[in-house]
C-alpha cells in the first residue's frame, strides 16, 4: 500500500470525527451535547497536525485527482482555523439559541472536508464533489435554527440559488471537457498552452460558466445577490463560517482552476474578472455604508473583500497571486470570525445596530471587547499593523507587479471608502455614551479563546508576515 493514500489524511480524520460526533450524539443526553463541540475541536486539531506531517512531501495521488501541495495544505490550515474558531464560538451560542444538536458539529466538519477537497482537487470533478459536500452541509447549517423563519428562508434561498449556480458550474466543467478532452487540471493546462483545443468557443462558454459558478460561491457582483439575506438569516456562527471557510474554499478552487489550468489563457479572462472585481468592490463597500445592522454590514463587507481577493487572481502569476491570496484569506479568517463572535455576544440582546444601544459605549462597558472589535475593524479596513493591511499590501503589490496599476488604484480607493463604515463601529464604541439600562453578559471560555487567538493572529500576520509568506513561496509547485 503506497503512502499516497495518506494525502487525504486530514480529510479522513475530519470525516472520522464527524461520524464519531454523530454516533456520540445518539448516546449523549441533551445537556451533554456541547461536549460534542470539544470532540469536533479535537478532530480539527488532529487534522491540523496531520497537515504539518504532510507539509514536507507535496505529491499527487489517486490517479492525479488529488494534490497535496503547499497551496492545498495552507488552504487546509485556513479552513481548519476558521472551523476551529467557529466551533469555539458555537458551543454556547447553540445552547442559547436552543439549537444544540450534534448534527451541527458533524456538518461543520463535513463542510470543512468538502472545502479541503475543493482546495486539493486536481481534477474538475474532484473540485465539484468537494463543492457539493461543502454546499449541502452549509445549506443545512444555514437553516439550522429551524424554528426561526429567517434562518429557514435563508437556507431555502441559498439552496435554490446554490443549486442553480452548481448547475452552471457543472455545465461549465462539461464544456471545458468538451473543448479540451479532459477534466484534469494539469492536462487542461497542457492542452491550452499547446493550443490543441478542440473548440475555442466551447472553452469560452465553459470558462464563463465556471466564472459564474465560482462567482456565486465567493459572492462576486452580480452573483452575490444571495449573500446579504443568507448571511443575515443564518445563525451567526454559521455566517462566520460561511464568510471565512466557504469563501476561502471558493477562492482556493477558483485560484487552482484559473491560476493553473487556465493560466496559459491569462490574457483572455483577466478582462472580465477585472470588471467583476471592480464592480464587486464598489458595490460591496458602497452598500455597506448604508447598512444599519452590523451583521448585514459585515455581509456586504465580505462581498467587498471578495473583490480584493479577486485582484490576486487577476494578477495571474501563480506564485505571487496564490501566496498573497492565501495570506489574505488567513488574515480575513481570523478577523471575521472574531468580529462575528462579538456580534454573537452582543446580538443576544436583540438587533445589533450601529446606533442601537448594543455598540454604544462598548469601550466603557467592555474595554477589552471593544478593543478586539476595534482591532478587527482596523484590520478589515486595511490599516497597519494588522493582517488586513499586510494582506492588501501583498495583493496590491502583486497587481502592480503584473502591471494592473488601475486595478490597484481602484482597490486602494475602495479601501478608503471602507474605512468610513468600519471606523463608524469604532466611533460608536468609543465615543458614544452607553445605554443606562444595559445588562452585563459574560463571555464564554470558547469566545475568550477565539478573541485572544484572533487578536494574536491579526497582529502576528500584520507585524511579522515574512514567516508566513515564506511558507507560501511556490505554493503551487507541483505544477511548475
Amino acid at each position: 500500500m503506497d503512502n499516497t493514500v495518506f494525502t487525504l489524511l486530514p480529510l479522513m480524520i475530519l470525516v472520522g470525527f464527524s461520524l464519531l460526533v454523530l454516533v456520540a450524539d445518539m448516546m449523549l443526553a441533551r445537556e451533554q451535547r456541547p461536549a460534542l463541540g470539544i470532540v469536533a475541536l479535537i478532530g480539527v486539531i488532529v487534522s491540523l497536525i496531520s497537515c504539518s506531517w504532510l507539509w514536507n512531501a507535496p505529491q499527487t495521488a489517486w490517479s492525479d485527482m488529488i494534490v497535496s501541495d503547499h497551496f492545498a495544505l495552507f488552504s487546509y490550515i485556513i479552513f481548519l482555523v476558521s472551523t476551529g474558531l467557529t466551533l469555539l464560538l458555537s458551543m454556547r451560542y447553540l445552547s442559547e439559541e436552543d439549537i444544540q444538536f450534534g448534527e451541527y458539529y458533524a456538518l461543520l466538519l463535513l463542510a470543512a472536508t468538502g472545502a479541503m477537497l475543493m482546495a486539493s482537487g486536481l481534477d474538475l470533478m474532484t473540485i465539484f464533489i468537494g463543492l457539493e459536500i461543502l454546499s449541502i452541509s452549509v445549506y443545512i447549517l444555514a437553516g439550522f435554527a429551524r424554528r426561526n423563519e429567517r434562518s429557514l428562508e435563508s437556507a431555502l434561498k441559498y439552496f435554490l440559488l446554490g443549486a442553480f449556480a452548481t448547475g452552471f458550474f457543472l455545465y461549465g466543467i462539461a464544456m471545458v471537457y468538451g473543448a479540451t478532452g479532459t477534466t484534469n487540471i494539469k492536462v487542461i493546462s497542457q492542452v491550452v498552452s499547446e493550443g490543441t483545443i478542440r473548440s475555442q468557443s466551447f472553452l469560452w462558454i465553459g470558462i464563463a460558466l465556471l466564472v459564474a459558478g465560482f462567482g456565486f460561491k465567493v459572492a462576486l457582483f452580480p452573483f452575490h445577490v444571495w449573500t446579504p439575506d443568507v448571511y443575515e438569516g443564518a445563525p451567526t456562527s454559521v455566517t462566520a463560517f460561511m464568510s471565512t471557510a466557504v469563501k476561502a474554499a471558493g477562492f482556493a478552487a477558483f485560484g487552482r482552476v484559473f491560476l493553473s489550468a487556465l493560466q496559459p489563457m491569462h490574457a483572455d479572462w483577466t478582462g472580465i474578472l477585472w470588471i467583476l472585481a471592480v464592480f464587486t468592490m464598489f458595490f460591496g463597500n458602497i452598500t455597506a455604508i448604508a447598512q444599519r445592522s452590523v451583521k448585514r454590514m459585515l455581509a456586504y463587507s465580505s462581498i467587498a473583500h471578495a473583490g480584493y481577493m479577486l485582484i490576486a487572481i487577476i494578477a495571474g502569476d501563480a506564485n505571487l497571486s496564490s501566496g498573497s491570496l492565501l495570506f489574505y484569506l488567513l488574515g480575513y479568517a481570523f478577523t471575521n470570525v472574531a468580529a462575528f463572535g462579538i456580534v454573537i455576544y452582543l446580538s443576544r440582546k436583540g438587533e445589533t445596530e450601529f446606533d442601537g444601544k448594543d455598540y454604544a459605549g462598548l469601550a466603557i462597558r467592555h474595554p477589552w471587547l471593544a478593543f478586539v472589535m476595534a482591532v478587527c475593524m482596523v484590520s478589515l479596513a486595511g490599516i497597519p499593523p494588522t493582517a488586513g493591511f499586510m494582506g492588501k499590501f501583498y495583493i496590491f503589490s502583486a497587481a502592480i507587479k503584473a502591471k494592473f496599476y488601475w486595478l490597484a488604484v481602484l482597490g486602494v480607493i475602495n479601501s478608503v471608502i471602507s474605512v468610513y463604515y468600519y471606523l463608524r463601529v469604532i466611533f460608536v464604541m468609543y465615543f458614544e455614551k452607553p445605554a443606562a439600562d444595559y445588562v452585563h453578559g459574560t463571555l464564554s471560555l470558547g469566545m475568550k479563546i477565539v478573541l485572544i487567538l484572533s487578536v494574536i493572529g491579526i497582529f502576528q500576520l500584520g507585524t511579522v508576515p515574512g514567516s508566513v509568506m515564506a511558507l507560501l513561496q511556490n505554493s503551487m509547485m507541483v505544477f511548475q
Binding site: 500500500m1 493514500v5 470525516v15 461520524l19 454523530l22 454516533v23 445518539m26
Partner: protein
C-alpha cells in the same frame, strides 16, 4: 464517436421500451366506458380533480433513504466486477476501501434508525 454507439443504442432501446409498453397497455387493456364508470362516486365527490395533491413529507424521507442505500449496492457492482483483476495489484486495499465505505453507511444507517427515520409514525 463510434465508441459511443452502444450508449446511443441503449438510449434508443430505453425509449423504445417505454413507448412500446405504453402502446401495449393502451392496445391490450380492455376499454369499456359505460355510464356507471363515468358517473360520480357514491360519496358525491367529483372524480376529476386537481392532480397536485399534497403528499406526506414522510414519503420523501423514505424515498431519499431508499435512493441512498440503493446507491450503495450500485457502487458495489463495479467493485465486485473488478475485484479479482485488481486484487493482485491492490491487495488488501481493495478490501479495506469497501469495508470503510460500508462502515460509513452503517453509521448512517444506525443514525437513521436511532433518529426514527424508519418509523412511519
Amino acid at each position: 464517436m463510434v465508441e459511443y454507439l452502444p450508449i446511443l443504442v441503449m438510449f434508443a432501446i430505453a425509449i423504445a421500451m417505454a413507448v412500446v409498453i405504453l402502446v401495449l397497455t393502451h392496445l391490450l387493456g380492455p376499454r369499456q366506458d359505460d355510464p356507471v364508470k363515468l358517473s360520480m362516486y357514491e360519496s358525491g365527490v367529483n372524480p376529476a380533480q386537481d392532480s397536485k395533491v399534497r403528499f406526506s413529507v414522510k414519503f420523501y424521507l423514505v424515498a431519499i433513504l431508499f435512493v441512498l442505500f440503493d446507491i450503495e449496492v450500485v457502487f458495489l457492482y463495479p467493485w465486485a466486477v473488478t475485484y479479482k483483476t485488481l486484487l493482485s495489484s491492490l491487495g488488501w486495499l481493495m478490501f479495506w476501501q469497501m469495508f470503510i465505505f460500508v462502515a460509513v453507511l452503517l453509521v448512517g444507517f444506525g443514525y437513521v434508525w436511532k433518529k426514527g427515520g424508519l418509523q412511519w409514525d
